[in-house]
């Protein structure tokens, strides 16, 4: 292509060279021989002079310079030639942005990959760099520019650089502070922070910049712009590290005063006393403050002697200390002094934290000054530490001094925790700060405790309590065994907190703070392995707290007790163990009380205990792990309890109690391993088979169980309550079982559940569903479940005729019944008997079984759904018939309703059963599959149906399915779904009890309307049905039973206003009228939505108000 590269036509030549360059970029790893590379590079280098075809040359040079070592690289001489040509020919700043970027990339590449070649060029190159980067403005290029400076500064020797330092810095300096106003949309890849960081690296690249940089930064520190301030603080601390102590020393004085100013001015004037800030600084979100403290920390570490002398000699600080005795209570301190006080506190704490030596001097010079206003003396024995000063006795400590004292102690604690040398026990004993603290610790602890005794109506109560708790907390969390704080003091502290927890529950703030402090101490002990303290913690705190649960003292509100228990239990493994045990004992004791003696108070307690157990403690156990035996024991203990209590009192009918027990049982068993579950099963099964009423022998044989009306109606008799408990609990164990767990005697269990299910026992149905969900298939060949496979279970459930009836039950003559005397579950569903409740229960049971099958993707679920549909249809005939006859009786109508609601069970997600937590087998996309098989059937039935009643029932079933299917699937056939959806909305909105399903349907609708992705499919359907949608939404705007329905309806209308103008204009008047009514809605959220909607619709036509 020689001609194209050398032709005199600019455009063609440029294109030709660019093509060659691009080509080389893509051939980066292809081996080329040296001669080719050399001649190519020579060509491109030459071409750099050709400004009209520059881009190609730049791309080519870059490509060659960046070649991987595997494909042949260019020599140093060549690189040097490129650099020379660059210096001679390129006027970077006169080029366009993209070319400039390429130029900088080339330069960067040269500096990074061929340092030998470039260094030899020396001054020329530096000069070229200065020239090139001067006045650059584009953020992308700037990033490169800053980097170039950084690399160059590392590369060249100091002597050489010294001549250029001021020039270079002049160029760089004007970029500081970075002021970046681009909006987010453009320049997506370069952000202000990136630029700022790159510039910081450039600033600190060589210590030669120091005479220029530090004054500039200090000057900008006094700027009023927040970001400039933060940036200069960051830069300063970064540069301090890079430039080295010697160079910084000159500026130290100036830096100190600026830092001091910054800290003084940035402090918030008030301190929050919320319990959240107990372990933190309290004002963490103040960026300037944190940055300036950072900087102080850096400079302090570098040159601590100098700074220390300044801090100790500082007038302001000393002034504060002098005036400290006037700061009696926190509220009396003026805002200004408060600000200063806080600043001093943070300065001192930073300096004390820096090193042990610094800590020594700070503590020595300031700590005694603080002790005096606090009225404390060196107290070695705990007896005489109460000074004569009446202040302390009255529980009034000087708040200013207290604050500083706490800051200092925190600093000491952090110093101790952070420095390695204190891990050995002996070391800190020699330090002076340490002795100082030790000598005061006893009296301090005492004094702090006395602050806690103030009563709540004092005006400085908050401050007192906060400081008191915080001080004690810090004393309690000194690491290093019992060196500073003797064991007795530590135990005293714990005692104080514990007694607060137990007795001061009316004092909310104090109680919360104390609890928080105890939690902190607990987790501190756990983290640092303080064995001695752990012992006392266990003795003092845990024992007391655990005893709370079982105590019969009802003066303390129970929820508070539980909060304390669960919070403290969360701090460490051993404590959790102890607390779980305590809880368990309490649960068992109270449960026994309820079951046998029927103590209603215990019932209340036990429900709360169980809720705490399953909601707070169990998740924590999961987090820590390895608590299996505890869970196992819990489950077995409850079963033991049930076994023990042969007669149940009548009080156990409280619904909440059984539910709570079942939930705890499910969760506990669910997190056990297979082996433990087996043990639980054995235990449970023995209890179950000992049950007195249970016709196990009958069930074992294949004789149909005799049902009679009496047996079915005695659902809540006292004699059966124990059986109901056992059965429900056994069901919950089964629900929680893992698929591999061995369930003893499956056939029998299935029969049992089948029978109880007909009495309306939902857990039994859920257990059946869970069993068919988890049972192994025959084809697996594994005999995991011992003696029963899924097929057998299905046989029992569906095909065997389990029940027979005596004469009092009239069987409906039904073609399906040949035998006439014994029937199965599906027959009952189809209405083989005339007992309504029986049918309803059978339907619910079948629905749960169906759900289990559906989730594992078994094809039998089709039969079940067909049963339901049959149910819907057969009864709808009767339903229309009974509508004419006697509406009040409406027995079959509600049966149909139940059948329709069965679809909700099939599709819905349930917490109680068949969830991931309870080890259900879940086939991916099972909902989608079911939806796509069932919807066409239902749709065709709706079209065929002739009575309004059957139509409404079918719509109801559809509504359940639609609202539980993922939106994407529904969206795909929006066209057919929307009419059904609309029908469903209008039918369901007639009944108050259906408001939840109305809402979830409406959510599907608004999902379809607002969906962005499925625009083509969804939108078409929506446009087609616009009229119906708007009509129905208008009706729902006045839906009286649920605010969310009204709000969502209005949102749907807003979405509709975006449709093509011609389609919606005819409806405009109606909509606006409906909305102006909604403006007067009782709920505020609806009114706000209405305003937006009205605006959206009003502006579809002329903008005026008058329509």
């Amino acid at each position: 292509m020689g001609m194209y590269l050398t032709t005199t036509d600019d455009v063609i030549r440029a294109r030709g060279i660019l093509l060659l360059g691009e080509l080389l970029t893509h051939l980066a790893s292809k081996p080329l021989d040296d001669a080719t590379i050399h001649s190519m590079l020579a060509f491109f280098t030459d071409r750099l002079a050709d400004w009209k075809a520059l881009r190609g040359a730049l791309v080519g040079c870059l490509a060659l310079l960046r070649r991987k070592s595997s494909g042949g690289v260019i020599t140093t001489n060549d690189a040097k030639a490129v650099a020379q040509s660059y210096i001679q020919n390129l006027q970077v700043q006169s080029l366009a942005q993209h070319d400039r970027k390429l130029c900088f990339e080339l330069l960067e590449c040269l500096l990074q990959r061929y340092p030998d070649a470039v260094v030899s060029l020396g001054e020329d190159l530096l000069y070229a760099i200065c020239e090139a980067i001067d006045g650059e403005k584009d953020p992308h290029c700037l990033m490169l520019t800053f980097h170039i400076v950084e690399v160059a500064a590392e590369l060249f020797s100091d002597d050489l650089l010294a001549n250029f330092a001021s020039d270079l810095f002049e160029i760089l300096g004007c970029y500081f502070p970075i002021h970046f106003t681009h909006s987010k949309a453009e320049d997506f890849d370069v952000k202000r922070d990136d630029l700022s960081r790159a510039l910081m690296a450039a600033f600190s690249s060589t210590s030669l910049f120091e005479p220029f940089a530090i004054p500039l930064l200090l000057e900008k520190l006094s700027s009023s712009l927040q970001s400039a301030k933060v940036d200069s603080l960051k830069y300063l601390s970064h540069c301090t590290v890079k430039y080295g102590a010697d160079r910084i020393e000159k500026h130290a004085k100036a830096m100190w005063s600026s830092i001091k100013d910054a800290i003084y001015s940035s402090h918030e004037p008030t301190l929050s006393f919320a319990s959240e800030s107990l372990d933190g600084v309290g004002f963490r979100d103040n960026v300037i403050l944190t940055e300036s403290l950072n900087l102080l920390d850096t400079v302090f570490k570098q040159n601590s002697g100098l700074f220390l002398s300044w801090i100790i000699g500082d007038e302001d600080i000393n002034l504060i200390f002098k005036s400290i005795s006037s700061f009696k209570t926190y509220k009396e301190i003026s805002l200004q002094s408060k600000q200063k006080l806080h600043a001093v506190g943070s300065i001192l704490s930073v300096s004390a934290k820096a090193s042990p030596a610094a800590c020594n001097s700070v503590m020595e010079s300031f700590f005694p000054c603080l002790m005096h206003p606090l009225g404390l003396s060196v107290g070695n024995s705990t007896q005489d530490c109460f000074p004569n000063d009446g202040n302390v006795l009255r529980g009034k400590l000087n708040h200013g001094a207290l604050y500083l004292c706490i800051e200092l102690m925190t600093a000491c604690r952090e110093l101790m925790a952070s420095s390695e040398e204190f891990k050995s026990v002996a070391a800190p004993a020699n330090e002076r700060w340490y002795c100082l603290l030790q000598s005061y610790s006893a009296s301090l602890a005492k004094a702090l405790r006395s602050t806690l005794e103030t009563s709540a109506n004092e005006d400085s109560y908050e401050t007192n309590v906060y400081f008191g708790v915080k001080g004690l907390l810090i004393l309690g969390t000194f690491s290093g065994g019992s060196l500073i704080i003797s064991n007795s003091i530590f135990e005293n502290i714990l005692l104080t907190f514990t007694s607060i927890i137990i007795s001061e529950f009316e004092n909310t703030l104090l109680w919360k703070l104390a609890l928080k402090a105890l939690v902190h101490i607990g987790s501190f002990i756990d983290r640092f392995n303080e064995s001695e303290k752990a012992l006392s913690y266990m003795d003092v705190v845990i024992e007391k707290i655990v005893s709370l649960a079982s105590s019969h003292d009802f003066s303390m509100p129970f929820p508070l007790k539980l909060e304390a228990i669960s919070e403290i239990g969360a701090t460490g493994r051993n404590y959790l163990l102890k607390i779980v045990q305590g809880l368990e004992e309490a649960v068992c004791a109270n449960l026994y009380e309820v079951l046998v003696h029927g103590n209603p108070k215990s019932a209340e307690v036990v429900v709360q205990l169980l809720e705490c157990y399953s909601n707070k403690v169990l998740p924590r156990i999961h987090e820590i792990g390895g608590f299996e035996e505890v869970l196992l024991r819990f489950a077995v203990n409850i079963w033991n309890l049930i076994e023990k209590s042969v007669t149940f009192s009548s009080q156990v009918h409280e619904k909440g109690l059984l539910d709570a027990t079942m939930k705890a049982m499910k969760l506990a068993v669910g997190s056990c391993s297979v082996e433990s579950q087996n043990i639980v099963f054995q235990k449970a099964f023995t209890v179950l088979s000992l049950g007195t009423y249970f016709p196990l022998e009958d069930a074992a044989s294949n004789i149909p169980i005799l049902l009679n009306e009496f047996q079915l109606t005695q659902e809540t008799s006292i004699s059966s309550s124990r059986e109901a408990w056992i059965c429900s609990l056994f069901a919950s164990v089964i629900i929680a079982a893992r698929p591999q767990t061995h369930i003893p005697n499956v056939r029998l269990v299935i029969r049992l559940f089948m029978t109880t299910l007909l009495k309306g026992n939902v857990p039994a149905a859920q257990a059946l569903g869970s069993m068919v969900n988890k049972l192994g298939l025959k084809s697996n060949g594994t005999e995991v479940h011992g003696n029963c496979t899924l097929e057998e279970a299905m046989d029992i459930i569906f095909d065997s005729k389990l029940w027979s009836f005596n004469d009092s039950v009239t069987l409906r003559s039904n073609g399906g019944l040949e035998n006439g005397s014994s029937i199965g579950l599906t027959d009952i569903c189809r209405g083989a008997t005339n007992i309504r409740s029986l049918q309803v229960h059978a339907i619910a049971g079948l629905a749960w079984i169906g759900k289990g099958l559906l989730m594992r993707g078994h094809e039998k679920v089709k039969d079940i759904t067909m049963t339901f549909i049959e149910c819907l249809l057969s009864n709808s005939k009767l339903g229309s018939f009974s509508l004419e006859q006697d509406y009040s009786e409406n027995s079959s109508e509600s049966v149909v309703k139940y059948a329709a609601d069965a679809f909700k069970i099939l599709m819905g997600d349930s917490e109680d059963c068949l969830s991931r937590k309870l080890h259900a087998t879940i086939r991916p996309l099972y909902k989608q599959r079911f939806y796509s098989t069932i919807m066409p059937i239902l749709q065709s039935l709706i079209i065929k149906s002739n009575s309004s009643f059957s139509r409404s029932i079918l719509c109801r079933a559809c509504a359940h399915i639609i609202s539980d299917t993922p939106l994407i699937v529904v969206l795909n056939d929006a066209k057919t779904v929307i009419p059904i959806l609309m029908d469903g909305l209008s039918i369901l909105s007639n009944d108050v009890s259906d408001k939840d399903i109305v809402y979830s349907l409406l959510l599907v609708l608004s999902g379809i309307l607002t969906d962005k992705n499925g625009k083509t499919i969804g939108q078409e359907a929506v446009i087609e049905c616009a009229h119906i949608i708007i009509d129905h939404s208008i009706i729902l705007i006045s839906y009286p039973h649920m605010m969310l329905v009204r709000e969502t309806a209005i949102q749907c209308l807003v979405a509709m206003s975006k449709l093509p103008h011609a389609r919606i204009y005819p409806m405009r008047r109606e909509v606006l009228q409906a909305i102006s009514r909604a403006l007067d809605d009782p709920k505020r959220a609806v009114r706000q939505e209405a305003v937006r909607c009205r605006q959206a619709w009003a502006s579809t036509a002329s903008r005026s108000l008058y329509f």
């Binding site: 009286p1040 039973h1041 649920m1042 605010m1043 102006s1076 403006l1079 007067d1080 009782p1082 709920k1083 505020r1084 009114r1087 706000q1088 305003v1091 937006r1092 009205r1094 605006q1095 959206a1096 009003a1098 903008r1103 005026s1104 108000l1105 008058y1106």
Partner: protein, 159 residues
């Protein structure tokens, strides 16, 4: 007409934090009514843009929450606004914006009075009369230029 801005350099105040409503018992009760109150009306008008500056009326302290009077039972609202300068010829436009916004946001049963705060405007009485005269408001809204201007000012309130 004066060319250029009437108040070239207004004092801009900070926006108040949008107060979260304290959760009252109404939240749980589906049928309890929440009355239209001062804060709600203020929320309607606070974001109206000033006709000549890119600031909201709240930022310029033209309206404050205290200057709104609401009586839900008797369906009455009175808004008192304070023009930034005494001779502000924009006062009528601001008033018109307030009126239009409230007409569109409140139920039709409400009677709305818009007033200039006493002593803050040179031609106070005239402005008040103009703003509360149904005919004149209707006539003003027939003027396409005026309607466009009002709509522009109201645009931020519907976000």
């Amino acid at each position: 007409m004066v060319s250029g801005l009437i108040n070239a350099n207004p004092v801009v105040y900070e926006k108040k934090e949008r107060r979260a409503r304290s959760a009252s018992s109404c939240v749980n009760d589906e049928y309890a009514a929440e009355q239209i109150d001062q804060q709600e009306v203020f929320d309607h008008v606070r974001d109206i843009k000033d006709p000549e500056h890119p600031y909201s009326l709240e930022e310029l302290k033209v309206i404050t929450e205290d200057a709104i009077e609401v009586d839900d039972e008797r369906s009455y609202v009175r808004v008192t606004f304070t023009p930034t300068v005494e001779h502000c010829s924009m006062a009528t436009v601001i008033g018109l914006c307030l009126r239009v916004k409230l007409m569109r946001s409140l139920p039709p049963r409400f009677k709305v009075d818009i007033m200039v705060a006493p002593g803050t405007h040179a031609t106070e009485a005239a402005v008040n009369k103009q703003l509360n005269d149904k005919e004149r408001v209707a006539a003003a809204l027939e003027n396409p230029n005026l309607v466009d201007m009002v709509d522009e000012c109201l645009a931020p309130t519907f976000d």
